[in-house]
C-alpha cells in the first residue's frame, strides 16, 4: 500500500517530463517551420521590392496551414512600399532596404503548468522573427 501511495505521488511528476519532451519537440518544430516560411517570403519580397499584399497573404496562409496558428493571431509588420536596388548602403537604412517582423503566439511553454503552479496566462509567449534585407528590384 505504501508503495502504491508513493507511486501515485511520483508518477505525475515523472509524466510531466515526458509531456515536456513532446512539447519541446513541438515548439521547436513550429519555430523551425516559421523560420523557413519567413525566409521564403523574404526571398520573394527581395525580388518584388517589398512585402506586397499577396506575399503577406501567402505568408499568413502558409503559417496557418503548416503551424496551425489562426491567421488573425499572426502579426506581420513589414515594408510595404516598393524599395529599389541602390548601389550604396544608405546609413538611414531606409532606401533600398526591406524590414520585416513576423510574430506568432506559442500557446504552451511548460507542460503541466497548472500542476506546478504556473497560470495559463503566464505559460505562453510570442516568437518573433525580424530582419532586414536589401531589395534587388530594379526601377521599371
Amino acid at each position: 500500500m505504501k508503495q502504491l501511495i508513493v507511486l501515485a505521488a511520483v508518477l505525475p511528476l515523472m509524466l510531466i517530463f515526458m509531456a515536456q519532451f513532446t512539447l519541446e519537440q513541438k515548439n521547436s518544430a513550429v519555430i523551425n517551420a516559421l523560420q523557413q516560411q519567413v525566409y521564403t517570403a523574404k526571398e520573394e519580397a527581395k525580388q518584388q521590392g517589398c512585402f506586397t499584399p499577396s506575399i503577406i497573404e501567402q505568408l499568413r496562409k502558409d503559417i496557418n496551414m503548416k503551424l496551425g496558428v489562426p491567421e488573425q493571431d499572426i502579426i506581420i509588420i513589414a515594408t510595404e512600399t516598393p524599395q529599389y536596388r541602390i548601389n550604396y548602403f544608405d546609413p538611414s537604412k531606409e532606401r533600398g532596404m526591406i524590414h520585416y517582423s513576423v510574430s506568432v503566439p506559442i500557446e504552451k511553454i511548460v507542460a503541466g503548468g497548472k500542476l506546478i503552479g504556473i497560470p495559463a496566462e503566464r505559460n505562453k509567449g510570442v516568437y518573433t522573427i525580424e530582419g532586414t534585407t536589401a531589395s534587388e528590384k530594379l526601377p521599371d
Binding site: F17, E24, S28, N32, Q35, K46, P91, G131, E136
Partner: protein, 144 residues
Amino acid sequence: MKVFIIFIALLIANITFISYQGDLNRYVRLQTYLKAVAEEAAAGAALYYDEVSYSRGSMIINKEEGEKYIKHLLIRAGQTLDLREGENLTAEMEVLDDSNGAADTGASPAVTVTLSLTVTDLFRLPFLTKEQVVRSAKYELADY
C-alpha cells in the same frame, strides 16, 4: 530509502535529458539563423558594384559599401541574439571579382561571408561544451 534513491536517479536523468534537448534545439536554431544572416550578408554585399568599372566591361564589387551593409546586419543580429559581455559576432568577407582574377579564371564574381559567433557555453550540462558557431555563405553573380 531504495525507492527514494531510484526516484532521485530518475529525476536527475530526466532533468539532464530535458536540459540537453532544450539546449540542442537552441543550438540548431542558432545555426539556421546564422546561416540565414550569412546568406543575407553575402547577397547584400554582392549588390554593390563599381559602376565605372562596369561601364568598361568588368565587374568589381564595392567592398566598402558591402562592409557597411554587413556591419549593419551584424549589429541587428547581435541585438536579436542578445549577446552578453564577452560574447561577439564577427564577419569575414572574401570577394572574388575581376580585380582579383575572376575574369582570368572564367569564374563568376562572388562574395563569401563567414560568420563567427563566440558565446559562453551553449550547453548547460557540465560535460558538454560549445562556445563557437561558424557559418558561411557564398553568393555568386551568374550571367551578370
